[in-house]
């Protein structure tokens, strides 16, 4: 009798894991992405924010060197995170014998991409127009909105994560002098904590 119910519970858990892609994507990926974000924030602080106070609503045109450095840090951080996430996910899905590219993956990627690309373009335009200070709050807000958007296709924890990121983004806009610290908390610390929570909850 007990055996049957234990089996039922096992079956339910297995089916939930197998059917939702992000379970294999979120735990370790969140931790890795968080760590890379922290390194990126530190590099940006050392190279740019330390010498120039651009964290404000003033219009400041960065020197060409600073502009290149900032874009470079952004691109390198983003690309390394994505590559490592893809690597971790492929490994995990292989272990579970799932196809890496299916309806679910496609849906998640499209829903992530729409707010992320819109936000990315807005940030690029702001940067070129000299509003570099607004980049940190805006990237947080759009990241949060992208997560909220994708949460309906995956774990409901993603909704809380998205809302936290949105809130931190708005907070960073209000307390713009502290936006680098808030950004590090949002992209670094919160992602890492989220990764550990999901990892322990769904193991």
């Amino acid at each position: 009798m007990k055996e049957k119910y234990l089996n039922d519970i096992k079956e339910i858990k297995e089916m939930m894991n197998k059917s939702s892609r992000f379970v294999s994507l979120s735990g370790p990926s969140g931790i890795v992405a968080g760590i890379i974000a922290l390194i990126g924030a530190f590099a940006a602080h050392q190279l740019i924010f330390k010498e120039t106070t651009i964290l404000g609503f003033d219009r400041i045109f960065l020197s060409e060197e600073q502009l290149i450095n900032l874009v470079l840090i952004g691109v390198v951080t983003l690309v390394t995170s994505i590559l490592l996430i893809i690597l971790l996910t492929t490994r995990e899905t292989k272990k579970r014998n799932q196809p890496i590219w299916d309806q679910q993956t496609k849906r998640i990627l499209i829903n992530l991409a729409i707010p992320l690309f819109t936000g990315g373009f807005i940030c690029l335009i702001l940067l070129l127009q000299g509003f570099a200070g607004l980049l940190l709050p805006f990237t947080l807000v759009f990241y949060g909105l992208a997560l909220v958007n994708v949460s309906k296709y995956t774990l409901h924890e993603m909704l809380s994560l998205g809302l936290i990121e949105c809130f931190l983004g708005l907070l960073a806009l209000v307390l713009i002098e502290y936006s680098l610290i808030i950004w590090s908390v949002g992209f670094g610390l919160v992602n890492i904590i989220y990764g550990f929570v999901v990892k322990t909850k769904y193991k």
């Binding site: 079956e11 339910i12 197998k18 059917s19």
Partner: protein
């Protein structure tokens, strides 16, 4: 013990129906083929279990065309989600 057993939902007694519900509560929706792949059952078998869950109003569906082929998407209803949660709670009580 008997009271607890009564709390178990008959609709989820079957392994396939339990699987369908588990997959639908963590996904916004899944189509017929995705469910078939997940559960590893035949078309007819899956269809009959889907029908019975529909009858209990635990799931609902939407038909649409993809490249001129019919495609059916299945959703868990609010009632279905509540019933499933209650069922899991009852199992957990029994296992205590």
């Amino acid at each position: 013990m008997k009271e607890l057993l009564n709390k178990l939902d008959k609709a989820f007694e079957n392994r396939v129906r339990l699987g369908i519900m588990s997959a639908l509560v963590v996904n916004d929706h899944l189509d017929f083929n995705a469910l078939k792949d997940l559960l590893g059952v035949t078309d007819g078998n899956l269809a009959s279990h889907l029908k019975s869950l529909e009858k209990s109003k635990y799931i609902t569906y939407e038909k649409e065309f993809q490249d001129r082929k019919p495609n059916t998407k299945y959703f868990a209803t609010q009632a279905g989600k509540v019933a499933f949660r209650n069922h899991i709670n009852a199992i957990e009580q029994l296992l205590k």
